[in-house]
């Protein structure tokens, strides 16, 4: 909001800068504290008053924390594998479904789409008991299946996101393709998907994050330690050693955050744009 009055404008801008810097410090401090603690020797984590920086960075904390957590690399492999499977499944199935909701006009489509939107109101904890018993009947408890098969059945939110994007692709293009001789699947595959790459990337990113971050799913479906994801493995470590080795807990937490932050910086623009568009119907 620029102000016509130059003095007011100047004053407002300085005010904004001060607030921005202040909030930035508040928002950034927890990160700094996490990394700083992760590099302290154990006794310095508990010193009173707290030390801002380690006397000497203990890089050794990282390999030590990984060893203390148990099979760290196995956890990481499980997390990565599940994340990738979920990305593939969600992108493929949600794109198909979104096409069916945006590019084909069939009777009852809009009512069914409303139903899909309504399912966003039903979070996992509401349905987790019967879902658990269902997977138990199938003999899937203690396997990875409950954590990736559902991804191939399209998520409502991702369908919504992709549908909005597909609707923004000019109708002319699909009609031209229809005149050129395409069937529906070919239009989907050769026209819509290539044009929807940014949206597909957004969905892939969101899903990667969601799976990487998921805690409740692995908590109830996984049984054996060698199947744990990083999130579950880290929680297991935290509850086993009862919250004392803060330097290791911080090191491990940093390790779990790191891939996410890395991915964000790699794809910042897609990411921000993806989130920005979710707020508009």
């Amino acid at each position: 909001m620029p102000d016509a009055d130059p003095i007011a404008r100047h004053r407002n801008r300085w005010f904004a800068v001060i607030l921005l810097v202040g909030f930035s410090i508040v928002f950034f401090l927890p990160f700094a504290w996490m990394v700083s603690t992760s590099l302290k020797p154990l006794n310095e984590t508990m010193s009173l008053p707290p030390r801002w920086l380690p006397s000497e960075p203990q890089w050794q904390n990282y390999p030590d924390a990984m060893r203390a957590m148990g099979p760290f690399w196995l956890y990481a492999r499980n997390s990565l594998m599940l994340a990738l499977l979920n990305v593939v499944g969600t992108v493929a199935s949600s794109a198909l479904v979104a096409y069916g909701f945006s590019r084909i006009e069939w009777r009852g489509r809009d009512s069914v789409f409303l139903l899909l939107l309504a399912t966003m109101m039903i979070p996992f904890p509401v349905v987790m008991v019967p879902v658990y018993t269902l997977f138990r009947e199938l003999g899937w408890i203690g396997t990875f299946k409950p954590l990736w098969v559902p991804a191939f059945l399209a998520g409502a939110f991702n369908v919504f996101l992709l549908r909005q994007f597909f609707l923004s692709i000019p109708k002319d293009l699909t009609e031209a393709a229809r005149m050129d001789g395409c069937g529906e699947f070919r239009i989907f595959w050769q026209i819509i998907l290539p044009l929807a790459k940014p949206a597909l990337l957004t969905v892939a990113l969101f899903q990667f994050m969601a799976t990487w971050n998921d805690f409740l799913g692995p908590l109830i479906f996984l049984v054996r330690q060698e199947q744990f994801t990083l999130a579950l493995g880290l929680q297991n470590f935290q509850s086993v050693q009862g919250g004392t080795a803060w330097h290791w807990l911080m090191a491990a937490s940093t390790l779990v955050v790191l891939p996410v932050v890395f991915l964000f910086f790699l794809t910042q623009r897609t990411f921000i744009r993806g989130i920005s568009t979710t707020g508009f119907k």
Partner: protein, 379 residues
């Protein structure tokens, strides 16, 4: 050989909740002859585009039938109709090169690679996509509006379809490109000897391109005729007003007989325009003695009496000059009779300082048309 026969075609869009259904096309029947260039023209919302899209197969038909070379195609998918369409926004695939845009339909039909190359290159040559610059490997984004338009044409041409469908293909071009492309389309039609159906709201495009024009309004066909017939013998008041710019003058009046003469008297004023009819026109109006009619007269058929060597006194009246618009080759003069606003197209290069003066104008009554005031139909 491609003849499209449309019979009693109807399109109804179901209304949204609480809204009545919307009739887009009501009982349209016409035939598009082989090798004909047929133009559907009308104001926006008149049903012309819906009709074209039903021919293309992009829109379901509510009732009626469309036959292509005798075969009923109501339920045939667009891809199996062998028709090519040029879209208003060109609808080029942004992720494909120009070459692939043109080749795509042929690839889908499993035309041999060599054939595809030959056909694409022929079309590209015809449309100037090879010279001066070879555009075939560019993406649509790297093309100007005019070039995109050519690619869209090329994509249709390589198909060698039974008929071409055009949906306002020139409306996104600037005025200069539009005129050029219009001429090019005419040339293409002669070169390809193909059936073409063309939708536009631009009457100039309709007049210049068409073998025959179908004028539509409110979902109904108003007139089907060659361009000059539509211009000179409009079937009703709507066509009279829609075709021609500036629009046809219309004057409401009554017909009376005075001795052996038939007189048209402007209505609604104490100083009416009075015009004396002769010949065929008098014989036509005799049937309407004592009735109200609407006189239609094109602006070029009104002349400044001073420009005529021997103005017909029975066709001359007084009117005040309101506005004078020089448009270059001619001048448009806005007149005010006591009850009507009229326009005359006079061939003066310079506007005269006549504004506010009352002058004499002479109508060329041999070109006058008369319409029924209730139905709007031509008498």
């Amino acid at each position: 050989m491609a003849e499209i026969v449309i019979d009693n075609l109807r399109k109804v869009y179901p209304g949204a909740k609480g809204q009545p259904d919307k009739v887009a096309v009501e009982g349209a029947s016409f035939t598009i002859h082989d090798k004909e260039f047929l133009v559907l023209v009308g104001p926006s919302g008149c049903g012309k585009t819906t009709t074209l899209r039903m021919i293309a197969g992009l829109e379901d038909i509510t009732s009626g039938s469309i036959r292509l070379d005798g075969r009923l195609i109501n339920d045939v998918a667009p891809k199996d109709r062998d028709l090519a369409m040029v879209f208003q926004n060109y609808a080029l695939y942004p992720h494909m090169t120009v070459y692939r845009n043109m080749a795509y339909a042929l690839e889908l039909r499993r035309v041999p690679k060599d054939d595809i190359r030959r056909r694409v290159e022929n079309a590209a040559k015809l449309l100037g996509l090879l010279e001066p610059d070879n555009l075939l490997e560019r993406k649509p984004k790297a093309l100007s509006g005019g070039q995109r338009q050519r690619v869209a044409l090329g994509r249709a041409i390589v198909r060698e379809p039974k008929a071409f469908l055009f949906d306002e293909p020139l409306s996104n071009l600037d005025a200069k490109m539009r005129v050029e492309t219009r001429a090019e389309l005419s040339r293409l039609h002669h070169a390809l000897q193909a059936t073409m159906v063309y939708v536009t709201h631009d009457q100039v495009e309709a007049m210049t391109l068409a073998d025959r024009i179908v004028v539509m309004n409110g979902g109904r066909i108003q007139q089907i005729a060659p361009p000059l017939e539509v211009y000179h013998r409009p079937a009703n008041l709507f066509v009279a007003g829609f075709i021609g710019s500036p629009r046809m003058n219309t004057i409401t009046g009554t017909v009376t007989g005075e001795g052996d003469r038939v007189i048209f008297t402007e209505k609604g004023t104490d100083h009416p325009i009075r015009l004396a009819m002769r010949g065929d026109l008098a014989r036509l109006l005799e049937k309407h003695l004592g009735q109200e009619v609407i006189l239609g007269l094109r602006p070029e058929h009104l002349a400044d009496a001073r420009d005529l060597t021997d103005p017909d006194p029975g066709a001359t009246f007084e009117a005040r000059v309101d506005v004078v618009e020089p448009v270059g080759a001619e001048t448009w003069v806005y007149l005010r009779s006591s009850a009507h606003q009229l326009i005359a197209r006079v061939p003066h290069a310079e506007p005269r300082t006549d504004i506010g003066h009352t002058l004499h104008f002479t109508a060329d009554l041999s070109r006058a048309r008369f319409f029924h005031p209730g139905t709007g139909e031509s008498l």
